[in-house]
């Protein structure tokens, strides 16, 4: 409890944005683009004593976890344990729900994004999110979906750069070969797995430091799931990734660290039970509750 009070400096977040030069898109001519961006890492995310409420109902409490840059952290746990709520606190989206309230801190590179005076718009420019169900903008083409964040967010990119950004983002999301000849087609004309990768490309186009994934594969078939899991493995070099998943095999496959949350009973508050390296959590958990869950005894 002696940690210094983090300063709320939204301006600092803004400078992070401008620091990133368009050099990210250099080397385009080489056809193959690594999903990773050389010399670029994600942000460190630290959650301190987080409690989230819906109105007066305490949904999840006492969450403490640290996500190091270039790591994938999986949040697992039974339905209703608050793992999605925790995820939605990391980009302030929880505060966007009508009765959403929080206590505690979420530090991104030592800036408390839940503090007063922090502009959620600036936070979300650095913390991207991929949702459970693919949600491309139905009125927009594939191309426009990818640049939507830049165009609507007034991110100061010249439209002449958009073509390159679209190609890089779609390539990173592993979708470019499938759609490069029909960028003007409706985003909703793609298959479910393609739509989800389009949504990932859309999130990557604004170049966040942190990528939140809320059960990104739960609406997808096994092959699309595999494609996205491979993608996560490549993206983690450049982005801090936090993924919520119901699929424990998926957590074991993609994550470096696993956090297990549970909820004692209906209507009660969820809580973090255990966090540790994925290999240990799945082979030798400290807590009985974790072991019961991952071996399928409960949940």
């Amino acid at each position: 409890m002696t940690t210094p009070e983090p300063t709320n400096v939204p301006v600092k977040i803004r400078t992070v944005v401008t620091e990133r030069a368009p050099s990210d898109i250099s080397g385009l001519e080489n056809e193959t683009i690594d999903a990773a961006l050389p010399g670029r890492t994600g942000s460190r995310v630290e959650i301190r004593d987080l409690s989230a409420f819906y109105g007066s109902h305490l949904a999840v409490t006492g969450v403490n976890l640290i996500v190091e840059p270039t790591e994938v952290t999986a949040l697992i746990g039974p339905s209703g344990c608050g793992k999605s709520t925790v995820l939605r606190c990391v980009n302030g989206m929880h505060l966007n729900t009508p009765t959403g309230r929080v206590q505690g801190q979420v530090l991104i590179d030592d800036i408390n994004i839940l503090g007063k005076g922090v502009d959620p718009v600036l936070v979300r420019r650095n913390v991207g999110m991929v949702f459970q169900r693919p949600n491309p903008f139905p009125t927009m083409s594939i191309y426009d979906n990818v640049v939507a964040g830049l165009r609507l967010g007034r991110r100061g990119r010249r439209t002449s750069e958009y073509d390159d950004i679209v190609e890089v983002s779609l390539t990173r999301a592993g979708l470019w070969p499938e759609v490069k000849d029909r960028l003007k087609a409706a985003g909703s004309s793609l298959s479910g797995g393609q739509q989800q990768r389009l949504c990932i490309a859309r999130a990557l186009a604004v170049e966040p430091r942190v990528l939140l994934m809320d059960e990104p594969c739960s609406a997808l078939d096994p092959i699309s799931t595999l494609v996205i899991e491979d993608l996560i493995a490549e993206l983690k070099a450049s982005y801090t990734i936090i993924i919520v998943t119901h699929n424990m095999q998926q957590a074991a496959r993609v994550s470096d660290t696993t956090a297990f949350l549970t909820v004692p009973g209906l209507g009660q508050a969820g809580a973090l039970v255990e966090i540790g390296p994925t290999s240990r959590i799945f082979s030798n958990p400290n807590e009985k509750a974790t072991e019961d869950y991952i071996t399928g005894k409960v949940g």
Partner: protein, 301 residues
């Protein structure tokens, strides 16, 4: 020794398997009956609509010609000939102004109600429900009292009265359409670091566009046919073609009403032709709006 055939007892499993088959005949009958009833109801609805359209068209077409669309009514209503050009211009102009007032206001109110909520939004929503129940003659009387008594009869006063009639319709239909936009799209946009205002203007409203335009066209059609509020505001003017909305103006609805109650055959003929013209204008406007609202993708550039 004769073989006795003993019926095997029917097992529970057989009962379950056979159960749907036993009712198959009855379900077929119910299915056919219901399909028949629904088809009959549908035919009845369409038939009434076609009857109205056909009846108006059959009489109206006898008197509808180039003359009708280019001339004002004759000085003596008993005379044949003449037309409703002043009413056509008046209707389009007054409803156009009313739409220009009601649509931006109505859409803003709907955005407030659905996207922002809060105490003010609840009040706006409640007042909308009240306003939709106000008889249009009362709306006309209200505009008469606060506007016409000060500035006299005018097309503009009529447009304000019609805007008041259209406003709750636009708010309600737009709000319904905004509620249909999935919350996930709003979240997707916000998660990209897009402001709420920009999310509404660039994601939510375009997604709801088709439904919003349909609602607006219903309000326009309603306003086109309104007569009562215009009697007390625009008043009517059959002497010449008036295009200045600050003066008293005629509209098709006023002319249909005025001509139909005269008792002269020639005037009633013009009323029928006017009715047909009114239907045609609404139909054309609806078709144009439908074509314009076809989903097109903004180009990559």
């Amino acid at each position: 020794m004769t073989d006795t055939i003993v019926a095997a007892p029917i097992t529970r499993r057989q009962q379950i398997v056979q159960a749907p088959i036993r009712h198959r005949g009855r379900r077929r009958v119910v299915d056919a009956t219901m399909t028949g009833i629904l088809a009959a109801v549908m035919i009845a609805c369409v038939a009434v609509l076609l009857w109205v359209l056909g009846y108006v068209a059959s009489i109206g077409l006898q008197f509808l010609g180039p003359e009708f669309l280019t001339q004002t009514p004759p000085g003596n209503p008993a005379d044949a000939g003449g037309g409703f050009v002043n009413g056509i211009i008046g209707s389009v102009e007054i409803v156009g102004i009313a739409t220009a007032i009601a649509v931006p206001l109505g859409m803003s109110a709907a955005v407030l109600i659905v996207e922002y909520g809060g105490r003010l939004a609840r009040w706006v929503s409640f007042l909308t429900d009240v306003l939709v129940g106000v008889p249009t003659i009362v709306t006309g009387a209200f505009v008469y009292a606060i506007w016409v008594t000060q500035f006299g009869f005018s097309g503009l006063a009529g447009a304000v009265a019609l805007a008041l009639v259209m406003l709750p319709l636009v708010i309600r239909s737009t709000a319904e359409m905004l509620r249909l936009v999935p919350a996930e799209l709003r979240e997707a946009s916000l998660a990209l670091g897009v402001t709420k205002a920009r999310t509404i203007t660039s994601i939510v409203l375009p997604t709801a566009r088709t439904g919003v335009i349909t609602g607006v066209m219903l309000a326009v059609a309603r306003a086109m046919g309104e007569t009562a509020p215009l009697l007390l505001t625009a008043l009517g003017n059959d002497l010449f073609t008036e295009v200045n909305p600050t003066h008293r103006m005629s509209t098709l609805s006023l002319q249909i009403f005025g001509s139909a109650i005269t008792g002269y055959k020639a005037a009633q003929a013009r009323a029928w032709a006017g009715a047909l013209t009114l239907i045609a204008i609404v139909l054309i406007a609806t078709i144009v709006a439908r074509l314009a609202s076809r989903r097109t993708f903004t180009s990559g550039r």
